[in-house]
Symmetry: C2
Subunit: 222 residues, 2 copies
DNA sequence: AATAAATATGAAAAAAATTTAATAATTGTT
DNA sequence: AACAATTATTAAATTTTTTTCATATTTATT
């Protein structure tokens, strides 16, 4: 994980950096707010730690200005102030979290993990069994590799995952996945199910889509 | 916003509920952990407030079990305990935030807003000007209508939005959008830029992609 | 076991998206 | 203004995806 530490107290910054390194993460240090903005324009980070009190620009100012410009990576503010007013202000200006000094490294790490995990997992993946569907990349991710699904197969799998445990008939799939009125003459659904099934089985070795004769299809995780 | 308050101290729960109502939000109260799980299986909420100390199941247990089952709405824990150990535990079990009692309603509301905003905005939309790119539906959304972009145009626009303000040359676009080594013989980039440009301009009436002769392309929001 | 209905499969046809190729227009420089 | 380099545009070629169609297999019922 790439972390930017914007903190003018060198002791704190260096101690954090060393601890991050011990956990296998790389951290850069910016000594004031301006430098932080500068670093961000040149490199990309997974998370920003901004000290509230810094020369040039305060952490809150950096946070505000980044968010205004559309910056959307997680930001955590570090501060010695502990009254509620500032917390509220920070969160309302687009910070993701807020850690009060003095803090333990464990807490910092836990909060970073929580925030990053959230950014990664929330509504960008649908997870099932030991696999997941990447909703942005339209990719099926397995421990052994990943595969990009064509659009209709992706939409179909997504719909199955959103409705696992429910029997879905062809009329409903046609309507919700293809946005087409169902006509008995087409076998779109069968064909796409077949293709999705073979890809799923090849990649996962499991049979997720069950046919309920006369009723529809069922996505099972058991 | 629909909020579930799982809290056995009725005074606190009712006071929160009343305050939420004043702000225009609807809240349900669950008096213990089991009841919370029960309510969640029946209705959908935008955010969960779980008291740590509750009969039947503790807030942390509820949180753990929901996350294990794949539940992915924001969860905030309320607690009287204030030592770091518990905070770390809570965040690592999938809670999104953690509020120490006694709290002010303003802080609760600010944290809910922060968490929900994050869930909504992070990586499901990239917003620019008065438009947004729906990263799930691969759709460009404008006040007047929306249009589904073909894959390469979508990837290109996404890359521009993630790097707005930076001049992107063809080599870099080829590498990061097409995942191809750049060869001077191809004009893939030019063609796709052209198509994306005309769609963008037709839909938004604005020119977002500027050519910097000899250097590359620049996405500007001015 | 025979039958009819439902589902699965393979391969061709059609449509859509991507890429290439040829040419036109624009830009910076002299 | 003329030139070379760069970028833009148009249209054709290719590839991929989607859909249809014909046929095979499976399932429930008798």
């Amino acid at each position: 994980m790439r972390i930017l530490i914007a903190e003018d107290e060198k002791q704190i910054a260096n101690s954090l950096k060393k601890n991050f390194a011990d956990e296998g993460h790389s951290a850069e240090i910016a000594e004031n707010g301006k430098e932080a903005i500068d670093q961000i324009s040149k490199n990309s980070f997974d998370v920003l730690l901004l000290d509230w009190r810094m020369p040039e620009l305060t952490g809150l100012e950096v946070c505000k200005s980044l968010r205004k410009a559309g910056y959307n990576k997680p930001i955590i503010l570090l501060t010695a102030l502990s009254d509620v007013k500032n917390k509220v202000e920070a969160l309302n200006y687009g910070a993701d979290d807020y850690i009060t000094k003095p803090f333990s490294f464990d807490e910092v790490m836990a909060r970073i993990n929580a925030v990053v995990r959230r950014y990664e997992s929330v509504s960008t993946f649908l997870e099932f069994d030991e696999f997941k569907l990447d909703l942005i990349a339209h990719t099926l991710v397995t421990p052994h590799g990943k595969i990009k699904l064509p659009e209709k197969e992706f939409e179909l799998l997504k719909y199955f995952l959103e409705n696992s445990g429910v029997i879905l008939n062809k009329e409903r799939l046609c309507r919700d996945v293809w946005e087409l009125p169902f006509t008995p003459s087409t076998n779109l659904v069968e064909v796409t199910i077949k293709n999705l099934r073979s890809k799923l089985e090849e990649l996962t070795g499991k049979k997720f889509i069950k046919t309920i004769y006369g009723e529809g299809y069922l996505f099972i995780l058991d």
